[in-house]
């Protein structure tokens, strides 16, 4: 089965692809320097810190001496990444290459370490803002907004309210995830299914990446948008920031971000403000960070029954992808993992690993403490059922028959064996099956012999 993988590309890869002038402008912002530093591989972070206060170029040979032999591949990855992000500048002397930190980046990171960065906006005083939502309410809001957006994205028709994204914007997000034939209800593609099973952070990156890629058409500069998003990740969750501190472009962006659940917009008597949620402040953290796992809700039993403590329509849709949902109670979804439901999922392009990872990552806290979180017999069976569909392996081949003599047959069979193309032979009846790749070579060989 073809494995299509959505690579929710890292934000930083996007940053790295910006032209040099724009990248230099980005590095004037201390917070962006910090965000870039945090996104680097650990060895690269070390190199940046070590070179922070060195003004002269360092030869690549000296740099190599910092690592032991075992780490040379990691060393190369780190250096390449630093050059890609233009944090490290290459100075080609006649005899050997040397490296120096990007001076804008260096100056601003130094300032950041010694003085600490101050954002261009301060939280508003509490006497102006009305009752602010608590962190739990804010989390619930962010979660609700994001789910609503996702439901609309997969156009299951179950979204309670529609977002304010224009339909053209939604179509751009849906590109690759949904396939619509004429007069048919849009169906999820393989990538669409995989997208649904990814965790929230990965999904968020995917959507934001599409949003940024299309911002040029909306008339917003990509670098500005990236700078604003990175800056947003350093604000304090739950604090109110006045909308007056935003530029016009940023104000337009803020409404879209509110639809995604990154910020909450509120209005007071005279002023209006935005409150960053956890989704926003975790933007600069890496994709694989496990501390952002939201609370799990799925219990899988050894008898293949599934109990999901959730009232979310999105969760129900996701579970329907690979299990048979039997009842839906106000706070509980009951279902069973059956061979039919799994075959259905496999046909749609979902792999057993994705299903198992989804179940493990979303395991209810009660079962998450146990190892394994999902019973082994269930995970083994899911994998076995997947291999069921892979029982037959097809290789294009040719069958050779009616050899004139035993010698010719044996010579041909040895020839095929030498070229690793012999799949099957029957010496008694002098027949053999050879891989299609070496068919032409076989013909030449047989003609040669005759």
């Amino acid at each position: 089965m073809p494995q299509v993988k959505i690579i929710a590309k890292n934000f930083m890869d996007m940053v790295a692809s910006l032209p040099a002038i724009k990248l230099d402008m980005l590095y004037r912002n201390q917070f962006i320097c910090e965000a870039i530093l945090r996104s680097l591989p650990p060895l690269a972070k070390k190199y940046v810190l070590q070179m922070l206060y060195i003004d002269v170029p360092i030869t690549s040979k000296s740099l190599q001496e910092w690592v032991i032999a075992d780490g040379s591949s990691k060393h190369k990855v780190a250096i390449d990444r630093l050059i890609q992000l233009r944090v490290l500048e290459v100075i080609d002397r006649k005899k050997e290459t040397a490296y120096k930190l990007n001076s804008t980046f260096q100056t601003n990171l130094r300032k950041h370490l010694i003085n600490g960065g101050i954002l261009p906006r301060e939280p508003m005083p509490s006497n102006v803002t009305a009752r602010l939502p608590t962190l739990e309410e804010l989390d619930a809001y962010a979660h609700g907004q994001w789910e609503c957006f996702l439901l609309q994205l997969i156009s299951s028709g179950q979204a309670e309210r529609s977002t304010s994204f224009s339909s053209s914007m939604m179509r751009i997000f849906q590109r690759g995830l949904l396939r619509q034939r004429e007069k048919e209800v849009p169906r999820l593609t393989e990538s669409g299914f995989q997208f649904l099973l990814m965790d929230t952070n990965a999904q968020l990156w995917y959507v934001i990446r599409e949003y940024i890629s299309n911002s040029e058409e909306q008339g917003v500069d990509q670098a500005d948008l990236i700078a604003f998003l990175l800056e947003l990740s350093f604000h304090t969750t739950g604090e109110a920031y006045s909308l007056n501190t935003l530029t016009d472009d940023q104000r337009a962006m803020i409404k879209d971000l509110a639809d995604l659940g990154l910020v909450k917009l509120q209005q007071g008597r005279k002023e209006s403000w935005f409150i960053p949620t956890k989704l926003a402040t975790n933007l600069s953290v890496s994709l694989t960070d496990s501390s952002l796992r939201k609370q799990g809700f799925v219990v899988v039993e050894t008898n293949f029954r599934l109990y999901a403590y959730s009232s979310s329509k999105l969760h129900c849709e996701i579970l329907r992808l690979f299990s048979r949902v039997e009842y839906q109670l106000p706070n509980l979804i009951v279902g069973a993992i059956t061979k039919e439901s799994l075959y259905n999922a496999f046909e749609n392009g979902i792999t057993a690993e994705q299903i198992i990872t989804f179940l493990q990552q979303n395991a209810h806290p009660r079962v998450a403490e146990k190892t394994p979180a999902v019973p082994e017999n269930v995970t083994d069976q899911i994998r076995l059922w997947e291999t069921d569909l892979n029982r037959v392996e097809m290789t294009p081949a040719h069958c050779y028959d009616e050899f004139p003599s035993r010698d010719v047959f044996e010579a041909a069979s040895d020839f095929a064996r030498v070229h690793c193309g012999l799949l099957w032979e029957d010496p008694k009846k002098m027949r053999m099956v050879v891989k299609a790749e070496i068919h032409m070579l076989m013909r030449e060989h047989l003609r040669g012999n005759k």
């Binding site: 910090e34 530093l37 945090r38 650990p42 060895l43 972070k45 070390k46 810190l49 070590q50 922070l52 206060y53 001496e65 910092w66 690592v67 032991i68 075992d70 780490g71 990691k74 060393h75 950041h112 370490l113 010694i114 003085n115 600490g116 960065g117 101050i118 954002l119 350093f234 604000h235 304090t236 402040t281 600069s284 953290v285 960070d289 496990s290 501390s291 403490e369």
Partner: protein, 268 residues
């Protein structure tokens, strides 16, 4: 001197517990002033917190009468300030430090003079290790954390204890030659997360002095007496162990000569 145990969660996330030696008897005679030292060290803390959103720094001050926590980056007060982190950290840390120093000095006013005013390193080390254990109990990820102890020694002599501690726990011991550049030493050597340590060329232990020192005089000795209960080392025979209080019997050499005498008498 300022040792610093560090911990690993995953990849390069680190918990760094720093033991700052604040012994005024040492700092008053040091070539690097305490305030200059603090400016290097505070920038070092900020660098660690900058490297990863999940990094945590805890500082324990080691005085000559007491030890206490003076900074924890994960406490609510400090956590919410990604914005303007350095000013908040500095003011909070320096204030607590000053309160600690005043309290530390007050303890000695109650005691008689004449005691050697050495820093209570073992006390602060125990506090640090207990803190780390507690954090890991609640994390349930690594039941037995590996805690390397790095030590940065500032001063004229050498500390055999710190060298041994760093060597045995797999940490790094270094005595910076040029104290003007202390920040650069801290950045290059001590700000390395545990994951990267396996790939970097860090100062290797050269000529660690492995000899034991006796508990009564702190002299290095080659032969001595050991308590069989707590393994404390003494250079001469004592009636009672000063660490665990167990009572010792007669010295082995005295017992041997007594039985020898007894045996000799019947023969003659």
């Amino acid at each position: 001197m300022a040792p610093a145990p560090s911990k690993l969660y995953a990849d390069d996330v680190s918990l760094v517990v720093v033991l700052l030696d604040t012994n005024p008897f040492f700092w008053s005679s040091s070539s690097l002033s305490f305030s200059q030292f603090l400016s290097h060290v505070l920038a070092f803390f900020n660098a660690i917190l900058t490297l990863n959103q999940l990094n945590q720094v805890v500082v324990i001050a080691t005085g000559y009468n007491s030890c206490d926590y003076i900074f924890d980056s994960s406490s609510d007060l400090n956590r919410s300030f990604e914005n303007g982190r350095m000013p908040v950290m500095c003011s909070s840390l320096l204030q607590k430090l000053e309160e600690f120093l005043i309290k530390d000095e007050q303890f000695s006013k109650e005691e008689p003079d004449g005691r050697i005013k050495s820093s209570l390193l073992s006390g602060s080390l125990s506090m640090a290790l207990c803190y780390i254990q507690r954090v890991f109990r609640s994390g349930a990820l690594h039941p037995h954390p590996r805690v390397p102890i790095d030590s940065c020694y500032i001063g004229a002599q050498n500390s055999a204890f710190l060298q041994q501690a760093s060597y045995i726990t797999g940490g790094v011991h270094h005595k910076p030659q040029n104290l003007d550049g202390l920040f650069q030493y801290l950045m290059t050597i001590f700000a390395t997360d545990l994951h990267s340590r396996s790939f970097l060329n860090l100062p290797k232990p050269v000529g660690v002095d492995f000899r034991a020192s006796c508990f009564c005089h702190k002299d290095t000795i080659d032969m001595g007496y050991i308590c069989s209960v707590c393994l404390s080392i003494f250079c001469k025979h004592h009636k009672k162990c000063s660490t665990c209080g167990s009572v010792f019997g007669q010295a082995q050499s005295e017992v041997a000569s007594a039985s020898d005498k007894k045996r000799k008498t019947p023969e003659t």
